[in-house]
């Protein structure tokens, strides 16, 4: 301790990377973070709205579970969000920042709607469904393929490219909403009567949910048990390593983005054919961006994503209920969602790193 006298301003703590942490401890940290999040957003609720936070939280649960229909809606929302999350996962795991899921979903939806409007009533419903499936998957895949090719060939920045493709998709959808509008000039297509995905039993929601759960299992296997999954992980970790061991990086980028876009196309199909039966530029509803959160929070594990998608769907639906019941601006519920996410994401820091408080050296006195 030679320079003891020279550091009166020794920092209170320093940050160090944790060695492996037991899962009990990791979950302990997460639970504490969630409790803190609820406590903190409770304070904010009290300050902003003068409402009792407990009853506000109860309202959130109410909004998701009060009736059977609400519960199914929650599961459907979870499924659709999960579908887009599954879509972005392979690309993100490859460290290809696909911010364009919103546009890929929209284009998939647009292709679906085009089939429903143009072919509806002219071919048999079964054939129409097949055409819709093919068209939506192709449309989503092509929308993702364009930035992938540019990335592979010219090393363009995929974040900007995919982001801008979103706006192109939005404008295309707005244009076609005008072409297909029901009342001249109103810009709304209205409910399309052909090409609805079949109902299972008497339930409007269950088909979408089943399809997405199947995709979840398939994607899990693809990512973790297949050669493709291994290759894209290596490309994500280090392109040079991938090249060194003989992986064709460009091929992997294009193949993975095709998959990512195709899955987004499926999401568009489920939204337009299985839920909304119309097309407008808000059908993707921001899922393309929320999905990134779902995927990251779950550390790219499709099964964990079920839980994170459920959490986000829950908060979205709950937030809507809060604004209805208390007549407060939706911004307040968005603030609550933001706070909770902040804590959940923030706690990952404390799982990976630890604060080491520095003991004062008594002998210096």
């Amino acid at each position: 301790m030679m320079n003891n006298e020279k550091k009166p301003k020794e920092p209170l703590f320093h940050i160090a990377k944790r060695p492996a942490i037991s899962w009990q401890k990791a979950w302990g940290i997460r639970v504490i973070a969630i409790l803190l999040a609820f406590l903190f957003s409770g304070l904010v609720i009290m300050m902003l709205t003068k409402q009792n936070p407990i009853s506000v939280y109860a309202t959130m649960f109410d909004g998701c579970f009060r009736t059977e229909a609400k519960f199914w809606q929650l599961l459907q929302e979870m499924a659709l969000l999960l579908c887009v999350s599954l879509a972005v996962t392979p690309a993100f795991k490859m460290h290809f920042w696909n911010i364009g899921a919103e546009g890929q979903v929209l284009i998939g939806g647009l292709a679906t709607a085009a089939c429903m409007i143009i072919l509806g009533g002219k071919i048999s419903n079964g054939l129409l469904l097949v055409v819709m499936i093919v068209a939506s998957i192709l449309a989503g895949a092509i929308w993702a393929l364009i930035p992938a090719i540019f990335k592979a060939r010219f090393n363009t920045n995929e974040t900007l490219f995919t982001l801008m493709m979103n706006y192109v998709a939005i404008q295309l959808v707005s244009y076609f909403a005008m072409v297909w509008e029901k009342t001249k000039g109103a810009g709304t297509v209205g409910e399309i009567s052909f090409g609805w995905l079949p109902r299972i039993g008497n339930n409007d929601y269950i088909l979408n949910i089943i399809v997405v759960l199947i995709l979840t299992v398939v994607l899990y296997i693809y990512l973790n048990k297949s050669k493709h999954g291994y290759e894209l992980t290596v490309v994500g970790e280090s392109e040079n390593t991938a090249r060194y061991i003989g992986i064709n990086v460009n091929k992997v980028i294009i193949r993975t983005m095709l998959l990512s876009g195709a899955l987004c196309g499926v999401a568009g199909l489920l939204i337009v054919g299985g839920k909304d039966h119309t097309i407008n530029s808000s059908i993707a509803g921001g899922r393309g961006f929320t999905a990134i959160m779902v995927s990251w929070l779950a550390k790219f594990n499709p099964f964990y994503m079920i839980a994170t998608a459920l959490l986000l769907a829950f908060m979205q639906k709950g937030a809507g209920e809060i604004s209805t019941v208390y007549g407060i601006d939706k911004a307040v519920s968005d603030i609550i969602t933001g706070i909770i996410l902040f804590f959940i994401i923030g706690c990952e820091f404390f799982i990976n790193y630890e604060l080491k408080f520095i003991k004062r050296h008594k002998e210096g006195e």
């Binding site: 109860a58 309202t59 649960f61 579970f65 005008m178 001249k184 000039g185 407008n280 808000s282």
Partner: protein, 412 residues
């Protein structure tokens, strides 16, 4: 599959806790439910929300007896919202945006014991369901009166020698190119023209009901084009605030924007929905049938003007408006009097119209019964007037009259 088990456990826990919470909350049964496309940041939705609260209060409904759902898109979420309101016990469900209509009809078919009403829609008189209703108001009369205020202001600017061009020119920010908007800007223009015959107008469209940036840009574009006064039919504060910044007078819509625009706000027309809500909710409560297609008017207090802002308005504006109002009541003045405007027919313009030598309308076939091909089905020129909102409540005036120039036809 250890992780699977964990997830199932988490899901179950969430559900159980949810059930617990749901069990302990108590609530009064709601009577009326309202579905809004946006929230109170949109002047359009705010107008509905304010009217709904006012009407429910007048009917003696407490908080909790009416529910307002905001930010409901024009897709299946409208149906889901309607269904949820019914599940909670609402006997009257209302939606405020044009694109909600198909989904309200879907809900109406599923719940025949609940009354569904929809503003600005066009299908109630053709789907013929006992429990599905359309409503609108003769807002063209309100816009005409607001147009008089605009015309007088232009005269005042002209007398002061401060016109930007040789003749007075107005600018109008519209949302979409369909009848509701066309009817609105045309009546506004005709009101201004009734006191300032030389006036012309430029119209630009944003392709959205709520896009603050686009509306602001549109207003600025019109101001740069040399417009002396602006009005709008889009729902954000974009155009009014652009006018305040540029110091250009603005005739607003949906309600007063005077607090944000104290120097430039002249007056605003609005539909007061409270009379309709009171009428329809009361009928629902009493189990009586009510109109399939209801059109409010100045008489029902559905069509209103806000207070005039003396700081921006021309002198004697109130007197001129009152005089015109009295003439409406007496039937001596009509908004779409065919002798007050001319129409030009070309290959792609006004093809459903017939005109005389001077260019005045003699016949017009409108698409009143909405269909996919916009088939013109009804003759709407009656007794020297375009009979707006008399064959159905929602406007169907979609003629491009002389003196109004469309700068663009926006596809969003």
């Amino acid at each position: 599959m250890k992780s699977m088990k964990k997830i199932v456990a988490i899901v179950l826990a969430v559900v159980l806790v949810g059930a617990l919470f749901a069990g302990c909350s108590k609530k009064v049964t709601p009577v009326a439910g309202f579905i809004c496309l946006h929230d109170e940041n949109s002047t359009y939705d705010k107008n509905f929300i304010d009217s709904a609260k006012e009407a429910c209060k007048a009917l003696g409904l407490e908080e909790g007896q009416y529910l307002i759902k905001t930010n409901i898109n024009e897709d299946n979420s409208c149906y889901e919202a309607a269904k949820d309101l019914v599940d909670q016990g609402c006997k009257f469900v209302f939606a405020d945006s044009f694109g909600h209509e198909d989904y309200m009809i879907k809900a109406a078919k599923e719940f025949p014991e609940v009354q569904f009403a929809h503003a600005t829609g066009t299908q109630a008189h053709t789907v013929k369901l006992d429990n599905f209703h359309n409503a609108f108001a003769s807002i063209y009369e309100g816009r005409y009166l607001a147009g008089i205020a605009a015309g007088l202001k232009l005269n005042e600017i002209k007398e002061a020698g401060k016109l930007k061009g040789k003749t007075a020119k107005m600018g109008y920010v519209g949302a979409f190119t369909y009848a509701e908007v066309i009817s609105g800007y045309t009546s506004f223009y005709l009101g201004a023209k009734s006191v300032c015959p030389e006036v012309t107008m430029e119209v630009t469209f944003t392709g959205s009901w709520y896009d603050e940036t686009a509306e602001k840009e549109a207003a600025n574009k019109l101001i740069n084009n040399g417009c002396d006064l602006i009005s709008q039919h889009a729902d954000s504060m974009g155009a009014p605030t652009a006018c305040e910044t540029a110091g250009i007078p603005d005739v607003s819509y949906n309600g007063s924007t005077v607090s944000a625009c104290p120097n430039t706000f002249i007056v605003s027309s609005r539909i007061n929905w409270a009379p309709y809500f009171e009428y329809a909710i009361k009928a629902t409560q009493e189990g009586k049938a009510f109109d399939t297609d209801w059109t409010g008017s100045i008489d029902t207090e559905s069509v209103q003007l806000t207070e005039i802002n003396d700081k921006a308005a021309a002198k004697d504006t109130q007197a001129a408006i009152d005089a015109a109002k009295a003439e409406f009541a007496a039937g001596t003045r009509k908004v779409f009097d065919v002798n007050t405007f001319t129409v030009t027919i070309s290959k792609d313009k006004n093809v459903n119209a017939k005109i005389d030598k001077e260019g005045h309308l003699t016949s017009y076939m409108a698409d009143v019964d909405t269909d996919e091909n916009y088939t013109p089905d009804t003759e709407v020129i009656k007794d020297g007037e375009f009979a707006e909102s008399s064959f159905r409540s929602a406007p169907y005036f979609d003629i491009q009259i002389d003196g109004i120039e469309l700068l663009d036809v926006n596809f969003g």
